[in-house]
Amino acid sequence: MRIGFPRAVHYYDYFPFWAGFFRSLNLELVTSPLTNRSIMESGLKKASDETCLPIKILAGHIQALKGVDALFLPRMVSTEEQTYLCPKLLGLPESILAAVPQGLPVLTVNFNRRLGNRRLLAELERFGASLGKKRAEVRQAFGQGGEWQERFERSRLQGLSFTQSMAEFDPVLRSSRRKAEAGPQNQFPARVRGPKPSAGEVPGDRVDGELTDREGSGREVDDREVIGREGSGPDVMSREAAGRTPGCSPEEKKEPPLKIALIGHSYLTQETYANLNLLGRLQSQARVRLVEEVETSRIAQGLQGQRKDLFWSHARKILGAGSFFSRGDEVDGIIYLSCFGCGTDSITQDLLARVARKEHKPYMVLTLDEHSGEAGLVTRLEAFLDMTERRVRRESDISAHG
């Protein structure tokens, strides 16, 4: 039996667990292709208007699963004892049914660590039984899933890129990585095809009037290009060396690169198509830190000072990592990537804004929606990086002179 796993939402955080689980049960788990325009469009058509972008993308990926006998949509209630996932994810299997092609069976199981490992395992055993698997087999699969997941998370903590870390578990990423490495693309700093902002553009210029949509700007992210760009490739150049700021003096070229934290849900920061390759763009101009690279102890440290604990696991990590980055000098600025319609971000981004303001850390929220245009994103990004850079330079001047 071939079971389909849509490359959206849970994929980005928990796929290794399920890959290990199903592999151990000898069931084939296949993913949908990387997000592309037709996946996005079919998602927008099939999902409810009011829901958030990641759920819409999920609806598209469900359509894009080909040649599978069933669709797997786990109900991830909680992955830690004290927290929940977002309400929309708790209601996922049922509320997305309208996007499931007629006749495609949906497999689901509750994954809830709040109930303790014993009951979680019992739930998985019941699920396994429905697939004709024995309890001992399921227990073993649970173990293997856990190991794979841990391996993935450790790899992320060690600073390996998402693609590098995930490729081990996802054949699609493996083959695109191989192709990318064989091709010439990764020898150049990555760039998305399409109009480049003109060199004379003043940072902070309003270009809202000429926002183009994805299609209009001719943006067609080539999967290989995207993969080849990330993480691998030559080391990050400073912004000056990369020629981003024209007309600066030779001395300034030795400035070290900016350090920027890109935080937000992994299914946004790593969703290269939907975020217009924000991560790749940033990486070509700065050293980028991500939430997944921050250890638990530092997240806890970041959360000190909050009177009440956030109860969503993603939001806790985002706020904890973001606060940690706000306080130290590990990064020069923080970009919070959010999306239109995200309920948990509405709380988290506001809490973090207050922390960042108190710590005088440059902070920007980028909110994606399905109409986000490239020009607007580039302008805001450039303006933020320029502002951060001026700040950094001013501060180092001050400390050098006084």
């Binding site: 209601g91 049922e94 509320s95 009440k308 309920g343």
Partner: protein, 378 residues
């Protein structure tokens, strides 16, 4: 210490009674209005949900009347409401409002912590016995309040002039505010029912025909707070529809505050069983209740269902994704109304009229098939 709290429909009547019974000085915020919302919208993150924005406005207006302490209930998710208290505290503090915020919840699961917070509010002069007595009486008041609201839901479509029912409603609310004993409390609905019967003797608005029945489901704040829903119940009543709702205040109090030890006027726990074929797990807020109540209304032969939700409300977006299946299975029209600070009265009224019109046509269509005689007889 001057305590205030956010508005949610008539809940203030109950909360005020509770604090006054404990001799705690309480500031009831001025009724929520456009100005309230504007104040809140300015401070709140744009993508925050509507109730949080109105809450903030309530606090600021209460601060102008001397309030310095906010009491709000809490929760541990998964919906945003559980974080309202802390979020609001930070927003207010950064805006220069120095409120003490007391969140009534067991912090980190500790009942002892909850007891300490109650003690903090009630002061040392109140014995626990007195606190318990006051809480029980306030709870009873919430049950009676629900009876009053339910009677008004039934009365509205049967009055020929819309103002008549509202007048009786105002009188009953006044009685409720004044009643200080169980005896006087229980007289309130009896008197209201009598008043309704008396005035219907000469005013038979519906012309003897049974009004449409519409079940309101959705997010609790927009259901209970007429300002947030732009008086949707009243508007439907004026259009000749009798409404019932999935949630009444005491049911929420019983479930949310007394953890199911009390059931309230309209118990909520039946809903999860009814929802089961459509949604098997709670999703925070009242998403599960919305689905269950929709099934319940459909089974009870209501003519239509109206779902209310603030823009971006996570649990209700889940429910909204499921309601179309209930609509198809039971062949009952369901309309979803999303509310935010930009919702206009005129647009809303047009949609309600169209909905009522649709339901009426359906209903009369059924009548023609089923009982030609009664139509001819009129």
């Amino acid at each position: 210490m001057k305590v205030t709290f956010p508005h949610m429909g008539n809940a203030w009547i109950v909360i005020q009674a509770l604090f006054e019974a404990l001799d705690v000085e309480v500031v009831v915020p001025p009724p929520s209005g456009k100005g309230t919302l504007n104040l809140g919208t300015k401070l709140a993150p744009e993508s925050a949900c509507l109730p949080l924005k109105i809450n903030l406005g309530n606090y600021i207006e209460a601060a102008a009347k001397g309030a310095d302490t906010i009491v709000i209930t809490g929760g541990s998710g998964p919906c945003r409401f559980g974080f309202y208290g802390e979020s609001e505290r930070q927003i207010l503090a950064d805006a220069g409002y120095d409120f003490e915020v007391v969140i009534l919840e067991p912090p980190g699961g500790s009942l002892w912590g909850l007891a300490r917070r109650i003690r903090y509010l009630a002061g040392s002069r109140n014995s626990w016995a007195r606190i318990v007595r006051a809480v029980r009486f306030a709870y009873e008041k919430s049950v009676v309040l629900d009876q009053v609201e339910d009677l008004i839901h039934q009365a509205r479509p049967r009055f020929s002039d819309a103002a008549g029912a509202e007048k009786l409603y105002a009188i009953a609310r006044q009685h409720l505010i004044e009643s200080a004993s169980y005896e006087s409390l229980h007289r309130v609905p009896v008197r209201l029912a009598q008043n309704i019967r008396d005035s219907q003797g000469d005013a038979n608005g519906s012309g003897g025909k049974e009004p449409l029945r519409i079940g309101i489901v959705g997010e609790i704040y927009t259901i209970l707070e007429p300002f947030a829903s732009l008086d949707v119940e009243q508007q439907l009543g004026a259009l000749g529809a009798e409404v019932d709702r999935s949630i009444y205040l005491s049911g929420w109090v019983g479930q949310h505050i007394f953890r199911g030890l009390a059931q309230g006027y309209r118990p909520l726990r039946v809903y999860s069983r009814l929802a089961k074929p459509y949604l098997e797990h709670m999703v925070g807020g009242h998403g599960l209740e919305t689905v269950g109540a929709a099934v319940s209304f459909a089974r009870r032969g209501f003519d239509g269902i109206l779902q209310l939700l603030p823009l971006g409300c996570m649990p209700e977006i889940v429910a909204a994704g499921i309601l179309p299946r209930i609509q198809a299975d039971f062949s009952i029209p369901i309309m979803t109304l999303t509310l935010d600070e930009h919702t206009g009265r005129a647009g809303l009224q047009t949609r309600l009229e169209a909905f009522v019109d649709l339901l009426e046509r359906r209903k009369s269509g059924r009548l023609k098939r089923g009982s030609v005689l009664s139509v001819a007889g009129k």
